[in-house]
Symmetry: C2
Subunit: 227 residues, 2 copies
């Protein structure tokens, strides 16, 4: 039997690629998504499609981060930035940063991992394209891995050795797309846009811009449907 | 103006004492409770009473840990242990342990702290009475503190130094009660029972037994209403 692993799945390009990586690495992935008050709730439908296509179990956990505010992704009164240049994206932490989001998501992944009695958790963080997000960096992943070991019964009692896998950490968007294609990922079912109109991507938020550029640089046709 | 702090408030004896400690230490506490699928949801009413009595803002965040299972506190099909002796309680991790619960709770507290731009988080964990819970130990608190510093924009950019305060860590239940009394806490409004009948405490779960014993050892009249 393949060992279980928890895979954080937003339904976007990165996490969908990570799901394929986890399968290719011989794990039986359990996909985990969050209803956290994101304005782009349509990504949950994409996550369900991706999990179904991959044939893996999928849970959606509600965690109401929008009640705490502080981000354009969860607060309708803060506008999602559009048409930013690469230089602008590289300057500081954008308003689409959700305070402590990856800490919260990994914590809940850890809870599920302990219930499943597995120690492998996959997350699609990336230090290159999202250089502005503190919780997408190697130091964060290492600190969480250390925490996990002392945070759980399985860890403290030595039954499980936790590993937070971040296979995309040092890849460019183009490299991620090429890797995913090699693994058979259909990016047509994924959703990355922060500010969609229905199921259509806006094409102008940071996430859309990075994704678009990635397909161009990879020389792969972009299956995204834009407004 | 007093500096803000986030205080995890379950509505039980320990966290209510911690709230009073945070106030006594000169902070302006922001109380945070969780609707996490606990069978003793009545504790949320107690948390609201405690916050009102202390005159502090109070938020309740939904995080659906019950959908992940694995604990008697969130799964109605697992019985809450009753009438266990001290020796039994000291042996291993009980079924009332909720996988990674304090990691999840502290993560969401961290999200709120970053929104408030404060670095002080108070939590009522205790290494003596809950020796079976891995996420109530000093090593866990230290690891979380380290994680917080690299997990947030405020931390990475050096605006905030995170401190996880666990003032009850080395106190017995009787010492906690005496400390709370000195700070003017009214334990009559708190709720500790894991398996209440309406608003009445069962008197027989681990939490009730520890609380009862604490009042006896402190020589303080127990205001709890038991079935």
């Amino acid at each position: 039997m393949k060992p279980a692993a928890v895979v954080l799945l937003s339904g976007g390009l990165d996490s969908t690629t990570v799901l394929a990586e986890a399968q290719a690495a011989g794990f039986a992935p359990h996909a985990l998504s969050f209803r956290y008050g994101q304005r782009h709730g349509v990504e949950l439908a994409a996550a369900a499609r991706v999990a179904r296509a991959a044939g893996v179990p999928h849970r959606v956990v509600t965690v109401d981060l929008s009640s705490l505010g502080g981000s354009a992704l969860t607060d309708e009164t803060i506008a999602v930035p559009k048409d930013r240049s690469d230089t602008m994206m590289e300057q500081g932490i954008p308003v689409t940063y959700v305070p402590a989001r990856n800490t919260v998501f990994l914590s809940i992944a850890l809870a599920w991992a302990e219930t499943l009695q597995c120690g492998d958790i996959f997350v699609g963080v990336n230090a290159l394209d999202y250089s502005g997000y503190p919780d997408c960096r190697p130091a964060f992943i290492e600190a969480f891995e250390k925490l996990a070991q002392v945070a759980t019964a399985d860890g403290v009692e030595g039954r499980v050795r936790y590993r937070i896998h971040a296979p995309l950490m040092q890849l460019s968007k183009a490299q991620i797309i090429l890797r995913g294609r090699a693994l058979g990922v259909d990016y047509g079912v994924t959703h990355s846009c922060y500010d969609p109109v229905g199921e259509l991507a806006c094409g102008r938020c940071d996430s859309c811009l990075l994704r678009r550029k990635g397909f161009v640089e990879a020389g792969v046709e972009d299956p995204t449907r834009y407004v």
